[in-house]
């Protein structure tokens, strides 16, 4: 059924391309096709020890497949790790398409075709059991993203994405080839790696290649450009779903193939391998710098993009630390980020759909106009800021605990301060877009967009109440790596250092809210129109030319302090490299002078060199 699924999805790609003029039908076809990975997910639920009722798993997918292509063999099999990440992708994907059904009007066929291709590629990546299959599907996924970026037509986005995508591809290719050189096989199961330097270099290259997709600094340069210049439903899936594949790959290669003992063989520091330590430090730096840069953005999409970069950094920290606690935290953070970032990008899309504006300083006051969008975004922002009334907190908490447990003295404060920085940009979104003076008289977002957003909010609530369920999902993955699952019940997670009981938090919060509600409802109140307050009853029409929404340059003092250090640091570096390449390119181009006599001399010189070489031989 796996091959059939690929075939049906490819067929759907062709069908939606043909249905370019009928966006709604194309959306329906795409959504139906997008259910295939979902059914695959439910069909494979058994490997995670979950038994689902049969109506949830109508299709039977085989758990492994070998298909001979001729020049290579496709080896596909489902693993617990693949299942976990498939859970993230397969659930957010149909919802992104649902959102798109009302959002994308222009050249819709191409949009759905590209989306389906990204999912097809990701599906293959998650099932891949050898390097060829992994690389093949990885690149299909990668270039389908390029196709979606092309729709945006932004120069920086296209050039940065394709060059970084190519860098990533080449690093992966080089790494795989080095592993092939060492082991003589592409099959993950047969790769018995030794502790040689070649293996280390190969693994580093593979991890670096994967880090490009995971937007780790300094390889993140493409992400803000791409995230801010493509259609929102796609970006929601890109940031929420596809960026996780980088971390899927890191887990696969670092713990599934290389293994903890091999990583440790290159030296450890306080029981954490240098390899992981470096990744954790890079992750912490990414988390911090991404956050600082996010605070400084005025474009809503850029803000969310840098926020993604920062939040993904946490996953890298968890993978780097590599204890069961940290890996569970990393998986949890990946799960949370998938849903809350998808909601935020979709909410940004809904706001754009109604107002046509991206700049935070040009928006404002939409909270009363689009209450359901606002509430969904509020939930997502709580999750992003790790406020303990969504599942966002549990993930960060696990990571903090893991870092303290392994005595990461310098990484932990950076993580914590990045968490505080998240409050800053979270509030910037809330205030700049939804609060303050109402400036647009718009309607609530269409129902399909609302449904998509609220279904994505759902997991954030579920895993708030049952954080132990994520630990349950992580258990088979950890046991594959020879690790013990962390001690937990559905509501309580316990570590060596402390415990976190969500039930206590929820009940205490409910009690406290009840008390304050009673206190609050004691006296009646009257609602006064928004404009009547600080303008002392003066009609606002008189002041139309003054914006009372103080959202432009919102964090100016902050920017004064951090701006000089952080703004465009990484981009500068890449621009210098590009300039060097262009210098070389110009040199090469000047060889072709366009003069026939020069070319004839080249031939003659070449002949003379060869003869000289032969004489010296």
């Amino acid at each position: 059924m796996i091959l059939e699924a690929f075939g049906v999805m490819l067929l759907a790609v062709i069908v939606v391309l043909a249905l370019d003029r009928y966006p709604r039908i194309a959306a329906a076809v795409a959504i139906i096709a997008s259910l295939l990975p979902l059914f695959a997910l439910t069909s494979w639920a058994g490997i995670m020890g979950i038994s689902l009722p049969s109506f949830l798993a109508p299709l039977e997918f085989e758990s492994s497949l070998v298909y001979n292509l001729g020049p290579g063999t496709l080896n596909l099999a489902i693993t617990p790790l693949g299942w976990f990440f498939l859970l993230l992708l397969a659930t957010s994907f149909p919802l992104a398409l649902l959102f798109a059904s009302s959002f994308v009007r222009n050249r819709a066929g191409g949009f759905y075709a590209g989306m389906l291709l990204t999912m097809l590629g990701s599906f293959g990546v998650l099932l891949a059991r050898d390097a060829l299959t992994f690389f093949l599907f990885w690149e299909i996924m990668s270039w389908s993203i390029l196709a979606m970026v092309l729709r945006g037509g932004d120069r920086r986005a296209i050039v940065s994405y394709l060059s970084f995508g190519s860098l990533s591809a080449m690093l992966l290719l080089f790494g795989f080839m080095m592993l092939y050189f060492k082991t003589g096989t592409f099959l993950f199961g047969d790769m018995h790696l030794d502790t040689s330097l070649t293996t280390l270099v190969a693994l580093s290259m593979i991890v670096a290649g994967l880090a490009v997709k995971g937007a780790l600094m300094p390889l993140h340069v493409w992400a803000p450009h791409v995230y801010s210049r493509s259609e929102e439903p796609f970006v929601a899936f890109l940031s929420g779903g596809l960026s996780k594949l980088g971390y899927f790959g890191m887990l696969l290669f670092m713990y599934g193939i290389a293994g903890l003992s091999l990583l440790s063989s290159w030296g450890t520091f306080r029981d954490v391998s240098y390899f992981g330590y470096a990744l954790a430090v890079i992750g912490a730096f990414t988390a911090f710098a991404g956050t600082v840069l996010a605070v400084m953005q005025d474009d809503l999409r850029k803000l969310l993009a840098y926020s993604s970069v920062g939040q993904l950094g946490y996953i890298a920290i968890g993978i780097g630390i590599g204890t069961p606690l940290a890996l569970t935290g990393a998986l949890f953070q990946a799960l949370n980020h998938t849903f809350f970032k998808a909601v935020l990008f979709l909410a940004a899309g809904a706001v754009y759909y109604r107002t046509g504006k991206w700049k935070i300083s040009e928006l404002g006051g939409l909270g009363y106009r689009m209450p359901f969008t606002f509430l969904a975004a509020l939930f997502a922002i709580f999750a992003l800021a790790a406020i303990p009334i969504t599942s966002g907190f549990a993930a960060k908490w696990l990571l903090y605990e893991a870092a303290i447990e392994k005595k990461f003295l310098f990484v932990t404060p950076i993580m914590l301060i990045a968490g505080v920085g998240a409050f800053l940009y979270a509030y910037k979104i809330l205030y700049g877009v939804f609060l303050g003076e109402p400036r647009y008289d718009v309607k609530e977002a269409p129902i399909s967009q609302l449904v998509a957003m609220w279904l994505l909010v759902l997991p954030l609530v579920i895993f708030l109440i049952f954080p132990g369920w994520v630990a349950d999902l992580a258990a088979p993955i950890l046991s594959e790596y020879g690790m013990q699952p962390i001690p937990h019940t559905p509501y309580v997670i316990t570590t060596n250092l402390a415990a976190y009981n969500t039930l206590a938090v929820i009940f205490a919060l409910m009690g406290a809210l009840l008390v304050s509600l009673i206190l609050y409802k004691w006296k009646p109140q009257e609602v006064v129109p928004h404009e009547d307050n600080y303008l002392a009853g003066e009609p606002p029409e008189l002041y139309e030319y003054i914006s009372m929404h103080a959202a432009s340059n919102y964090y100016e003092p902050f920017e004064d302090v951090f701006g000089p250090v952080f703004r465009r640091g990484a981009e500068r570096a890449w621009e210098i490299i590009l300039a060097a390449a262009e210098f070389l390119g110009n040199g090469a181009r000047r060889l072709y002078t366009g003069l026939t006599q020069d070319y004839s001399i080249y031939i003659l010189l070449f002949f003379l060199i060869l003869v000289g070489w032969w004489l010296l031989w």
Binding site: P71, L162, S166
Partner: protein, 462 residues
């Protein structure tokens, strides 16, 4: 299966080409149809030949009544059959675009058939002098094709091509003379058998002469000065035709040279070095190129370098890679040349053009599941198994450079006003793109012939 005498592949189009003026006298409009029919016939024959070779192995045919080593011999091995099929099929598809043109020149059609025939001749001949003759025909026909645009640029390009092409021919002739002087034979197998009797210096000299001569046609740096100007000056159709026909024939000749004719170690090393340089210079020169056709031309140079690297590695895996790269490049580059316009702006606004061109670019930069990917993967696999990290690094860095300039190309294509191609051109690029997809998704249809070709070449056969 009908067994087709390979000579028909050369003889028929040559013959029909000379009848074209007669057809023209009868009806001007019929010439295009007539040419297309000839090309289709040739493509069919080449398919039959291909099937025959795949079934029965190498097909030999001696001409003019003498037996080898004196007589002229055609020897079609798997690689020759693959390339003959490729050249004939694709030239038919590319010729389709001529139907969208108001212009109707019988000379163009004649030259087109001529070059198709002679390129095919290069890949199926078993005789060095024969090869030289076909090279000459190809070159002369190509000069005419480049100039057929009748613009300043095309005359300029044609002129440069003539000068450098003539120098190249002189070198080939020198090489042939050297070999003939020592061995008194021009038959490939005869030479290969008795090559050891030649003094080493003479052997090396003849190798140098031949590689310089063929290198001009195969677009090897530093012998390829004509390439950017000729491709820029030629019409899209001709540029597209060049990247599938003569350049592939040239690279095939180099393969024969280093495998069958003069399999010497230093020759492989030299070819490898040349390949690396061609790759680096071609890709770097393309990086800063503003004119899209020139950019594609430089990109072709880079690709030729890559193919040359694959050929010079002298292993089965690398040869399979070379064949995938050749097929991928022929399909993708002829597609791109057809779709591109003098400036790239707006080329990609039209989805019917954008999708095929996007696929073409993906194949060239080595993205799966297109033929370029299989080629690159196999090449890297072979390099990795030998531990040739430096060459891998070069390939990787140039691949990144490649993607940067193709990214610029894509960006320019998405901006600006929507552009249209003629219906026949659109049809041609869609067919080419479908071929790319088919070869990519079902690589085993090319893989099996490629394995045979590699075995045959490594065994010293055609």
């Amino acid at each position: 299966m009908v067994s087709v005498p390979p000579v028909l592949l050369i003889a028929l189009p040559l013959l029909f080409a000379f009848f074209a003026p007669l057809v023209n006298m009868w009806s001007r409009k019929a010439v295009k149809v007539y040419t297309l029919l000839v090309l289709i016939l040739n493509a069919t024959l080449s398919y039959l030949l291909f099937a025959n070779v795949m079934q029965n192995g190498v097909v030999y045919e001696q001409l003019s009544g003498f037996y080898p080593p004196i007589g002229i011999l055609l020897a079609v091995g798997p690689i020759g059959a693959i390339l003959a099929l490729l050249i004939n099929t694709l030239s038919t598809i590319v010729y389709l675009t001529y139907f969208g043109e108001a212009e109707n020149s019988v000379k163009f059609s004649m030259l087109y058939m001529l070059v198709t025939a002679s390129s095919t001749g290069i890949v199926i001949t078993g005789d060095l002098f024969n090869m030289f003759v076909f090279f000459e025909i190809t070159a002369v026909g190509s000069y005419g094709l480049v100039a057929s645009m009748r613009t300043k640029e095309s005359f300029e390009g044609a002129f440069k091509y003539i000068v450098l092409g003539s120098i190249g021919s002189a070198f080939i002739l020198l090489g042939i003379a050297t070999i003939y002087g020592y061995l008194k034979t021009l038959n490939f197998y005869d030479i290969a058998l008795r090559i050891d009797t030649m003094p080493p210096t003479a052997r090396l000299m003849s190798f140098i002469f031949l590689i310089i001569g063929i290198g001009v046609e195969a677009e090897i740096f530093p012998l390829n000065g004509w390439v950017p100007d000729a491709y820029q000056g030629a019409s899209n159709r001709v540029a597209s035709f060049f990247s599938l026909g003569p350049s592939k024939a040239g690279i095939y000749a180099i393969a024969r040279l280093i495998f069958t004719l003069l399999p010497i170690l230093s020759g492989w090393q030299l070819a490898l070095l040349l390949g690396v340089f061609t790759l680096i210079i071609g890709e770097l020169a393309a990086l800063m190129q503003e004119d899209p056709k020139r950019m594609l031309a430089y990109s072709s140079i880079g690709q030729m370098g890559l193919i040359l690297i694959a050929l010079s590695l002298h292993s089965e895996t690398a040869l399979i890679a070379a064949i995938f790269l050749m097929v991928g490049h022929a399909l993708a580059k002829s597609l791109l040349f057809l779709g591109v316009r003098d400036y790239a702006r707006g080329t990609l606004r039209n989805p019917l053009i954008a999708a095929p061109m996007f696929i073409g670019i993906l194949s060239i930069i080595g993205m799966p599941p297109f033929p370029g990917f299989w080629g690159k993967w196999y090449l890297m696999k072979d390099l990795a198994s030998q531990g040739a990290w430096l060459i891998m690094l070069v390939i990787i860095l140039t691949a990144i450079v490649e993607s940067v300039y193709y990214a610029r190309f894509l960006h320019r294509g998405t901006g600006g006003e929507k552009r249209k191609l003629s219906r026949s051109e659109t049809a041609a690029i869609i067919i080419l793109a479908s071929l790319l997809i088919l070869v990519g998704i079902f690589p085993n249809y090319l893989y099996d012939p490629a394995v045979r070709a590699a075995a045959s070449l490594l065994g010293g056969g055609p």
